[in-house]
């Protein structure tokens, strides 16, 4: 018998040099020609409490495929199966000079909520950086899903005044044939992005 107590290993910052190992070239492109679903581009900037750009943020994206299915053993529903041409994971490091990031992916399908009903289409985003001792977790929702967003149980748990920080807005992107959504991540201030205790 063991008296060992297993407590969570504490988090530490990713520091300024994580790109040595994490976030390689092209890891922000989640689609191949075979991937099912509507192509979308997500872009934005990572901004600090003075609204200066954060030049060394690591952004990790995780999402369901176009039918709302996750490539993961815990998503064991029998009525959906994952798109073999879609993983659902992307990494991007913010631009050193602008704090900008982008992902090319597909719009995810709706995912069920454990309390019943469907969640609005959304993307999980985990942000870490030099100067952050813990990861920050947020979600990207889509502005052109007003009805689904209004019914989303997670959004309903967010204070109304802060809701808009989670809604990506349509903008003209570099390729007008790909719908582009803008999602800035702001730390501190009245318009701070909502971060979740997941």
């Amino acid at each position: 018998m063991s008296d060992v107590v297993y407590r969570q290993t504490p988090s530490q910052t990713v520091g300024p040099y994580f790109t040595m190992r994490l976030s390689g070239e092209g890891e922000n492109v989640l689609t191949t020609p075979e991937t099912r679903g509507e192509r979308v581009r997500i872009e934005g900037r990572v901004l600090d409490g003075d609204r200066n750009h954060i030049e060394d943020a690591l952004l990790e994206l995780w999402q369901a495929d176009s039918s709302g299915c996750y490539r993961h053993p815990a998503d064991d529903r029998s009525d959906v199966s994952p798109d073999p041409a879609f993983f659902g994971f992307g990494r991007c490091s913010s631009d050193f000079n602008t704090g900008a990031y982008s992902f090319l992916t597909i719009k995810p399908g709706p995912v069920p909520h454990p309390d019943g009903g469907l969640q609005a289409p959304h993307i999980s985003l985990t942000i870490q950086a030099r100067g952050m001792l813990n990861p920050t977790f947020t979600r990207i929702y889509f502005a052109d899903e007003p009805a689904a967003n209004a019914a989303d149980p997670v959004l309903q748990s967010v204070p109304q005044a802060r809701l808009q920080t989670l809604i990506a807005q349509r903008v003209d992107g570099p390729d007008l044939s790909v719908p582009t959504y803008r999602f800035d991540i702001r730390y501190q201030g009245d318009d701070e992005t909502v971060f979740f205790d997941v």
């Binding site: 297993y6 969570q8 040099y17 409490g49 994971f89 454990p114 001792l133």
Partner: protein, 231 residues
């Protein structure tokens, strides 16, 4: 049955704002985090598939591919990954990065510290845990290095570790330190960890891991958030 994960133990982790580490001052969230019920979005994650796509690259003393060995104190870093229930976490990818024996990183932003680069050392590697949650790296012990946080600031020797674990909720990036480092008391990043949990970031020298006439051995276990079963 739906597997959810135990809550993040905020009391065992650093705070977001730790003013002695100056870069946290403008980068820490100031609103309270919003608690949510975990859904498939949080109880799944890229870890399992990411591990499946990866290969082991666990010998940092030779993986520069030059045919020559990195310079430094050859060190074996091994340990196990557990969840909070004490169960091993098998088949999970660990990605690491570190400075060379002189404290210099192979990174374009590292320009201020006039220490030599080692042409035979990249400072990156990865390994998957086995069925018992065990991992093993062969590397060289990194050197301490200066940084700009405050006058004459030096980081204790450390290796960066990144683990996804099985879900978004288990994501962990941390740093492993070496025993008896005189810089611990002077380093705000290490000191940001609550006093009661700092010891868990320090590897133990383990003579049973040390290989005669070859390499020193260190043991360091990692604990991720664990599943809790709910009906």
């Amino acid at each position: 049955m739906t597997t959810t994960y135990t809550a993040r133990a905020h009391q065992d982790h650093p705070p977001f704002l730790y003013s002695d580490y100056r870069s946290t001052v403008k980068r820490a969230p100031t609103h309270d985090l919003v608690s949510i019920v975990q859904t498939l979005t949080e109880t799944t994650g890229p870890g399992p598939a990411w591990t499946h796509l990866s290969v082991d690259d666990a010998d940092l003393t030779t993986n520069a591919g030059t045919g020559s060995e990195a310079i430094g104190q050859r060190s074996i870093i091994t340990g196990r990954v557990f969840d909070e229930n004490g169960d091993p976490v098998p088949d999970t990818l660990i990605e690491i990065w570190q400075a060379n024996a002189c404290g210099r990183y192979v990174h374009w932003r590292e320009t201020a510290f006039p220490a030599p680069l080692d042409p035979n050392f990249l400072g990156v590697g990865q390994a998957r845990t086995n069925v018992d949650g065990e991992y093993r790296f062969l590397t060289i012990k990194p050197g301490p290095y200066p940084w700009g946080n405050h006058p004459n600031a030096w980081r204790p020797a450390h290796i960066h570790f990144s683990l996804m674990g099985p879900s978004v909720a288990t994501r962990l990036v941390t740093q492993m330190y070496f025993p008896d480092d005189p810089l611990f008391d002077l380093d705000p990043i290490f000191q940001s960890v609550p006093a009661h949990s700092r010891h868990s970031l320090i590897a133990a020298y383990d003579h049973s891991v040390t290989i005669e006439n070859w390499a020193l051995g260190y043991r360091w276990d990692i604990v991720l958030r664990g599943p809790e079963a709910t009906p």
